[in-house]
């Protein structure tokens, strides 16, 4: 909020160094900037009731600069006529809960006129259009006191003023002559047959004051912040007045504003002020029980009682034993903690010394985060870069991958059409990452670990997923590398990996389900074209919440062989439907001595399917001779050729 220092100085007295004032305000109250006769103050939201006006801000400045003086508005009680306000205008407040204070005054026989230049300049600086003397004065007083006022042309009010709820479908015509449809949640000010104001938000052209206005009703009220907030948002009618009511208006300030504006109108525009203030009553005294030891408990500062007393005095907080009587306009002061805040900010926050507090418990790191780090390190070690992604994607991606990941969380108010779904898998983000990089790199290896979400039994479930992509020219190379990585991963984390062929739109036939964990595959040509890729893309997606359940992170020592290990490779052609696992199962049934392990080394296709299998021989008691091993290998060969009908190469 911007204020002219010449306006503030009317209350604070002359100040020579406003830069210093701005710096002090920043440290003790609100972030403030000073330039060229204007200070821009970021009033904290809870301080709106008292500080968002000339009077309040001037007081804050006097307070933080340790001046004993307090800001005051010039008000003289008007010379009231004999005629009573209530006799002239009946006001009925039907909403004592939502409109706890509804003050009003009536002035008769005044002479409205265009605003003089000083007033015009004033209201324009503070963001208002100059309308006429009356309206501009009410805005001036709002800037002075923080309390919004509304002035009605009394002659346009039919008989009485009623504060009530609108009826569903009732129409309200604003000052800009726009028509709004109201409902029964909205508070309105009405007369016998029409709405004359939308409470706290905007007046109606049906009761507005103009240059012909002679008799007025001035309203100074406190409306429920919540009601104003709801109505103002629903109708998208955001006014300065609504903004203030949403942040609470102090009843004492409201009454003060009424008296101030009455005084000013009387001075400038004449008229007769009727006797008595509508809705006038005593303000309740706000008090709070305060335990003075709380200051040290919260701040660690030990302040002496004299100092505390001095600060409380400067705040106009009266101390009566352990009861504190609070100033009526400081609505933000509600709990003992609020009082502590006042005392230590005015003392000096930066006198709080750093102090080490011993640990309460052994610190722990969420198991999943540690696991994610292990996975991350694995992929860095095998040469994959860690990518990054936004968590939302569009409907097209959702539908494309739906056959693998059917359930997703939909966004009610997406940032754009591209962000309609919260990610339920990382594939779209991997695709985007490759697309971004393909113009600069010919081989792209990336992985990501991030949260995805889906709905399970009506509940939103979040999980960590791992996404891996390898983009290169040769799809066979891609698949071999990714499979190699998966195998290494399963060895390293000690879990069973099972791949089952899986046909999908994304991968066509070149895809597999990693049972219980996720998917892998190579993007079809169609998809490459659709997403504009020059390269082939191999993808792995794994549910880390599932993986963490089946891994075994504790490594058990395996004795290191004392005697030499002999390996023999056999390569042969087989029928396409013959699998390594079947061959290996059969060979294990043979009585082959010293055979410790059968490993599949390679599969490739040259007209027929060819396998290379490694046989590992070892004896725990001695070094084996080549002859011994040859004899055993011979057994295997005979079985392969005679029984399994393979063609040795």
């Amino acid at each position: 909020m911007k204020f002219r220092i010449k306006d503030l100085e009317k209350y604070t007295g002359k100040i020579s160094n406003w830069q210093k004032v701005a710096d002090t305000l920043t440290l003790k109250s609100f972030e403030t900037n000073y330039t060229d006769g204007i200070i821009d103050v970021d009033i904290l939201p809870n301080r709106y009731p008292d500080a968002s006006c000339l009077l309040g801000l001037a007081n804050e400045i006097l307070l933080v600069t340790n001046k004993p003086r307090r800001a005051k508005l010039e008000i003289k009680k008007p010379k009231e006529s004999k005629e009573k306000t209530e006799g002239k205008l009946k006001v009925v407040n039907e909403l004592s809960d939502e409109v706890p204070y509804y003050f009003g005054r009536v002035i008769l026989g005044l002479k409205n006129q265009p605003s003089p230049s000083w007033l015009k300049e004033f209201v324009e600086f503070y963001g208002f259009r100059s309308i006429n003397f009356l309206v501009d004065l009410s805005n001036l007083v709002m800037i002075e006191t923080g309390a919004p006022l509304h002035i009605f042309d009394l002659d346009k009010i039919n008989d009485q003023v009623i504060v009530r709820k609108a009826k569903d479908g009732e129409k309200f015509i604003s000052l800009d002559r726009k028509v709004y449809n109201l409902n029964k949640e909205d508070i309105v000010i009405a007369d016998r047959n029409k709405i004359i104001a939308l409470a706290g938000i905007n007046g109606s052209s049906l009761s507005e004051v103009d240059l012909n206005t002679k008799n007025i009703f001035i309203e100074a009220a406190v409306f429920s912040p919540e009601a104003i907030y709801k109505t103002s948002r629903r109708l998208n009618l955001k006014t300065t007045s609504a903004f203030r009511f949403e942040r609470k208006v102090s009843p004492s300030r409201s009454r003060l504003a009424l008296e101030r504006v009455t005084y000013l109108i009387n001075i400038y525009l004449g008229g007769v002020v009727l006797a008595g203030i509508i809705g006038d009553r005593k303000m309740p005294i706000r008090q709070i029980k305060f335990d003075f030891s709380l200051i040290e408990k919260i701040s660690g500062l030990r302040l002496d009682n004299k100092l505390i007393k001095k600060i409380l005095d400067s705040l106009n907080i009266k101390k009566n034993g352990n009861i504190l009587i609070l100033p009526s306009d400081r609505l933000d002061l509600q709990t003992p903690e609020d009082i502590v805040e006042e005392i230590i900010r005015l003392y000096d926050y930066n006198k709080i010394k750093p102090f080490y507090e011993y640990s309460f418990h052994r610190t722990s790191i969420e198991k999943h985060l540690e696991f994610n780090n292990l996975i991350k390190n694995f992929f860095l070690k095998v040469g994959y870069f860690e990518g990054y992604n936004y968590s939302f994607f569009n409907k097209e991606y959702y539908l494309l991958i739906k056959e693998m990941y059917p359930s997703a969380v939909k966004v009610y108010n997406p940032i754009s059409e591209d962000h309609e779904y919260f990610q339920n898998n990382l594939i779209p983000s991997l695709l985007k990452n490759v697309y971004l990089n393909q113009f600069n790199f010919k081989k792209i290896r990336l992985f990501q670990i991030d949260k995805v979400a889906c709905e399970e039994n009506e509940k939103i479930v979040e999980k960590y997923h791992l996404g891996v992509v390898y983009a290169d020219k040769d799809p066979e190379l891609i698949l071999k590398e990714l499979k190699g990585i998966l195998t290494k991963l399963s060895n390293e984390f000690n879990f069973n990996l099972e791949l089952v062929k899986f046909h999908s739109t994304l991968f066509g036939k070149i895809g597999a389900r990693l049972r219980g964990l996720g998917f892998m595959g190579v993007l079809t040509k169609n998809m490459q074209e659709k997403f504009d890729f020059d390269l082939n893309l191999g993808i792995i997606e794994i549910d880390l919440d599932e993986l963490i359940k089946i891994v075994n992170l504790r490594k058990m020592f395996q004795p290191i062989p004392i005697f030499s290990v002999i390996e023999r490779d056999l390569s042969f052609f087989v029928e396409n439907d013959m699998t390594f696992s079947e061959i290996s199962k059969q060979i294990r049934k043979l009585k082959v001595n010293f055979l410790k392990e059968i490993k599949l080394i390679d599969i490739y296709f040259i007209a027929k399917k060819s396998l290379t299998i490694r046989f590992v021989f070892y004896s725990e008691s001695r070094n084996l001779t080549n002859e011994e091993v040859d004899k055993e290998i011979e057994k295997i060969k005979i079985y392969l050729v005679d029984t399994l009908k393979v063609e040795l190469r």
Partner: protein, 342 residues
């Protein structure tokens, strides 16, 4: 035979042999043969000693020169054979080595976790999709309160309507459930993505990262907060002393509420034209305060006995400050040309 001629022939022979040697072992054998104690050359001093004075002087000199030359040839050949056969210019740049990199955000996440672990904080994880209560109501931000406007929210859809779930607008939403779950005393931090319905520009994104921390015990006070904040920023910016400044701030879930500034890490308060702190000497880095008693009570904590502080900061901005990254959208990219730099 002329001794002089004989010596010269011998030199030529040895020189050829040495040059022909293919291995260090071969050369060593030749050395023993030609220069060893039992070699022909070794018998020469005896022969020379029997010559007359003039001859002795002349042949002796030839012998000494010859011996020195052979030893030199031997040394050179040995050096040659010792080398690996390769032609290499040390100006060659070397092969291009691929070093896989983690993303700076996850790198910093681990760094921050390490710092807070060392300060006695447990590291917890929390949902990104939370209920309206967790994100707002539990934290003294009721519905229809202007405080909610600070956090423009992205909501979860439920059959075309706004559901009661939302994408957390701040990591502070972890507070009540985490305190309930882990109990007090407690010291914990949470790190993660937060979401805002907001237009993006160089310094704003609709997804970004926050860290929130809490510490609750019967004796916790703002001095303890100050210690933790100072130590954190010292570690994070690798400086021996962080200048930390507290200012009044307002967050509905803390009381007192604070804004935390640190002394400008670029100009250290010395520049007249610092673009980072705009000559204010300080950079706003965090919000903090003492946890509001109502929040503690909602988490089932006896607010008369326990007090706690809370703090939260935007991690992206800290990374950007530390590494002079001027656009948050670059930080939030997977451009390998970016990731490769860290």
């Amino acid at each position: 035979m002329d001794l002089e001629l004989e010596l010269n022939n011998l030199l030529r022979e040895i020189e050829n042999k040495f040059r022909e040697a293919k291995t260090l072992l071969e050369l060593e054998n030749l050395r023993i043969r030609y220069l060893g104690r039992k070699s022909y050359l070794a018998s020469f001093p005896q022969i020379i000693s029997k010559l007359d004075q003039d001859q002795k002087k002349k042949i002796g000199k030839i012998y000494n020169d010859l011996k020195a030359r052979i030893e030199k040839i031997y040394g050179e050949r040995k050096e040659e054979l010792n080398q690996v056969e390769v032609n290499f210019d040390f100006e060659h740049p070397g092969l291009e080595i691929l070093l896989a990199k983690e993303h700076p955000i996850s790198k910093v996440r681990n760094e921050i976790v390490k710092i807070f672990s060392s300060l006695g904080f447990s590291v917890v994880d929390y949902s990104q999709i939370v209920s309206e209560e967790e994100n707002f109501d539990y934290l003294n931000i009721p519905a229809y309160h202007p405080a909610r406007d600070i956090w423009d929210t992205i909501w979860v859809d439920k059959n075309g309507k706004k559901s009661k779930y939302l994408f957390r607008t701040h990591t502070t939403s972890f507070q009540v459930s985490t305190i309930k779950k882990l109990g007090v005393p407690l010291r914990a931090v949470v790190f993660g993505k937060v979401f805002r319905y907001e237009a993006t520009d160089k310094t704003h994104d609709f997804e970004f990262h926050q860290l929130d921390g809490i510490s609750i015990s019967p004796s916790t006070n703002l001095g303890h907060l100050r210690y933790v904040v100072e130590k954190f920023f010292e570690s994070f910016f690798d400086s021996s002393k962080a200048i930390v400044r507290f200012r009044p701030g307002y967050f509905p879930f803390v009381e007192p509420g604070l804004e935390i500034d640190i002394g400008c890490i670029f100009c250290h308060g010395k520049s007249k034209n610092c673009l980072i702190c705009k000559n204010t000497r300080f950079i706003e880095v965090a919000g903090a305060g003492m946890i509001h008693p109502h929040v503690l009570i909602r988490a089932g904590v006896n607010a008369n006995k326990y007090r706690g502080y809370a703090f939260g900061f935007g991690v992206d901005r800290l990374i950007m400050l530390r590494h002079s990254i001027d656009d948050i959208r670059v930080l939030h990219s997977a451009d390998l040309r970016f990731i490769n730099q860290f």
